[in-house]
Amino acid sequence: MKKFISWFVQSWRASRQWRIFTYSIFALFYGLEILIQVLDRVYFNAAPFPIAAVGVTVFYFVVATPIAYAMRNNP
């Protein structure tokens, strides 16, 4: 248990930039989804586009995973 906690703390500290990068993108897409849905409902009555679902999926598989794979020996 002690080993696991120290491993977890160490990885958490080492991955700080990666967490900033990934979670900011997630937050951006979900935030935009809310903003655009509200604006569309209030002003345009337009058909919604699931920007968060599409954006996060595309980002995760097309951007984050290849970068993480390329960085696997260079954290």
Binding site: I36, V62, M71, N74
Partner: protein
């Protein structure tokens, strides 16, 4: 169907980024441009612009998106991802701090002087603005 076309159109806006990553995969110092015996930097930029305009026209045709907004979003995607992706591709350990040496933006002293986190926030804001303009 319309939403699938919208997604395809959006994904195609990353074409300049993909092309530039492929072009710079061994670094940007070489002059391996085949028949084009011109300064590589200038040719790189213009090829990117041409690809961006082409995919924006396609996007306008298949998804009905604005051409200008598409070009802006395409540039913002490139601006946001390129430095991180190329640093990872070239195997640099400092992927979050990495900056190119030759481009104009990378040599503005303000841009070089601020912290990597601040650069990331600026990139993120540019992408957010482009997405808001696009949608």
């Amino acid at each position: 169907m319309q939403q699938i076309l919208t997604v395809i159109g959006l994904a195609s806006l990353a074409a300049p980024l993909v092309w530039e990553l492929h072009n710079d995969r061994f670094g940007d110092d070489h002059l391996s441009r085949g028949v084009f015996k011109v300064m590589s930097k200038r040719l790189d930029v213009w090829t990117r612009v041409v690809i961006a305009v082409l995919v924006s026209l396609i996007n306008h045709y298949i998804a009905g998106a604005s051409i200008v907004a598409s070009i802006i979003l395409s540039g913002a995607i490139h601006f946001f991802i390129f430095d991180y992706a190329i640093a990872a591709l070239l195997g640099r350990s400092n992927w979050f701090e990495y900056l190119g040496e030759k481009s104009i933006v990378d040599n503005v002293s303000f841009w070089r002087g601020i912290s990597p986190e601040a650069r990331f926030v600026i990139r993120l804001l540019v992408l957010a603005l482009a997405l808001v303009i696009y949608f």
